[in-house]
């Protein structure tokens, strides 16, 4: 019979090895992209339009396009998502309809992103006649991040202690006053975390913007929400597969900018959550 302590050591080692393995791909991705992309990062690369058939120049229109799209997506998704989260956590009783709504949110989160792209094409581009535009792309991305915002906001609202609600009501506040003055202010950090996770997701997705907004090559900046725009993930796809002979460092430079943008936003989420936990005393 094998020694119990030896088994313990083997189990520990095996589990530790698997855990360690997780950081290997993350580390490799970051190192590879920084190593190959850093030489491309110049002021001109960040602020100039693409030139010579995207083989030179910069990626400024794609950065601006991504910023517009992400802002648009949050503007669309936050009010609806927050309102839905407040309804679900504060007002909804356990009825069949509400259970169906919760199931729909879970399923919405599981829909593949390319399906969102096709859906956006059919609904916003064609049926609503918005055309391929920032508006269509923002709405599509907005629907995609809706479940993230709803789930995070609901968790944040439900984490506010029940006793706060009880006291507020016992002082004669209405339910809405209680939500407005007591529950929401205490849930804001959690809601912000949800928004930022949504931003990270919206910034990085290619498929939903593929048919709804993304321009192959558009050297000028969009003038209105009905214009097409370039976007970082799609630009990366284009220069990697559709345009021959693009210098490798431009491709990796673009990837590096996209990755930094998403990581930065995630870092902000982590900092906010950390500060929130430190403050929380109840």
């Amino acid at each position: 019979m094998m020694n119990v302590r030896l088994k313990e050591k083997i189990a520990f080692f095996f589990l530790f090895l698997c855990t360690l393995f997780i950081i290997v791909p993350v580390g490799m991705i970051v190192v590879l992209i920084i190593k190959k992309g850093l030489p491309a990062l110049t002021w001109q690369f960040l602020t100039d339009v693409p030139r010579q058939g995207m083989r030179a120049g910069g990626i400024f229109p794609a950065i601006v396009g991504t910023v517009y799209l992400v802002t648009g997506a949050v503007v669309c998704a936050l009010p609806i998502g927050l309102a839905a989260a407040i309804y679900l956590s504060e007002y909804a009783k356990d009825t069949l309809l509400n259970r169906i709504i919760k199931l729909a949110i879970v399923n919405l989160a599981g829909v593949p992103s390319v399906v969102y792209g096709l859906f956006g094409l059919a609904l916003f581009v064609v049926w609503c006649r918005f055309g391929a535009s920032i508006l269509s792309g923002s709405l599509t991305l907005g629907i995609m991040i809706l479940p993230i915002i709803i789930t995070a906001s609901r968790e944040a609202l439900e984490a506010v202690p029940h006793s706060f609600r009880e006291v507020s009501l016992s002082l004669g506040a209405s339910k809405w006053q209680t939500i407005r003055h007591i529950v929401l202010p205490n849930a804001i950090p959690g809601i912000i975390t949800g928004v930022i996770l949504g931003i990270g997701r919206a910034a990085g997705e290619t498929a939903p913007i593929l048919f709804t907004v993304a321009a192959f090559y558009l050297p000028k900046l969009p003038q209105s929400i009905f214009d097409q725009a370039m976007a970082l993930p799609y630009h990366l796809y284009v220069i990697s597969t559709q345009v021959p002979n693009v210098d490798e460092k431009i491709r990796y430079g673009t990837a590096l900018v996209l990755l930094s943008l998403v990581l930065c936003v995630n870092l902000i989420a982590i900092v906010i959550r950390y500060r929130f936990r430190k403050q929380k005393k109840w």
Binding site: S170, G172, Q177
Partner: protein
């Protein structure tokens, strides 16, 4: 004078009957204690008086509860006005995670009363004076209420009620989180407050009931077994079960 009259009150949580045919009368500007073992329905009873049980799904009541002559169990009663008049102090001190000042100002702001900065300052000061916190906290009004001691928090919660001009104060085991010295000081405060307020306190601490209350009700398994002035309950209980409880044979 009678402030509150309860007549044949029954309450069910789903199929479980938590209050059985409870009747009682609460005198104005006196302290009434409700005693009884855990689960006897005394907190449930207290929460009927400001309709806090409405927050729980599946609660049904029958009977009548008159406060200042108005039946508060009727469908069309204004819950906001009722809860403004009948305030509640909870077992765990539960100030909002706001400043001391904001905690007290909360009630005035939500009730949409007209105020200027000066009148609000005056209300905050008066409320804190009434609970004897003013001298301790006058320089710390903008500190977080969560940084106070447990006793100060509980006093602040009482002050928060007084600011909305409650005239009935319900206290649900208000001292069970406090040490004996703090408990004693809160009891002194209660004696002070009864000059202006009608106080009903739920407690499982019989000594506390004997020390502070004018009247006492003893509850067991959802029934009001005996209700009389505190002196007679503790010296000459009429019911055998009351006697067994106060002499510590169960509970």
């Amino acid at each position: 004078m009678d402030k509150i009259q309860v007549k044949n009150l029954n309450l069910w949580y789903g199929n479980f009957q938590a209050l059985k045919n409870v009747s009682a009368t609460f005198a104005e500007k006196k302290i009434t204690a409700i005693i009884g073992p855990s689960g006897c329905g005394k907190s449930t009873f207290l929460r009927v008086l400001n309709r806090m049980n409405d927050l729980i799904e599946g609660v049904k009541t029958s009977g009548q509860v008159f406060i200042d002559g108005e039946n508060i169990l009727s469908q069309d009663v204004d819950l906001i006005a009722l809860r403004k008049k009948v305030g509640m102090v909870f077992q765990r001190p539960n100030p909002f995670p706001l400043s001391v000042y904001e905690n007290i100002a909360f009630g005035i702001k939500i009730h949409g009363l007209k105020y200027t900065k000066d009148t609000l300052d005056a209300i905050v000061e008066n409320s804190l004076r009434e609970v004897l916190l003013w001298d301790d906290l006058k320089d710390k009004l903008h500190r977080s209420a969560l940084s106070l001691s447990l006793e100060q928090k509980q006093r602040l919660c009482i002050a928060r009620l007084l600011a909305v001009k409650s005239d009935v104060v319900l206290m649900d085991e208000p001292c069970s989180a406090l040490d004996p010295q703090a408990t004693q000081r809160i009891e002194e405060l209660m004696r002070e407050l009864k000059k202006h307020y009608t106080i009903i306190i739920v407690t499982h601490n019989m000594q506390q009931a004997a020390r502070v209350s004018d009247d006492t009700g003893f509850m067991l398994l959802g029934e009001m077994i005996e209700f009389a002035d505190t002196h007679s309950i503790f010296t000459a209980p009429k019911d055998r079960r009351t006697e067994e409880y106060i002499t510590g044979r169960y509970g």
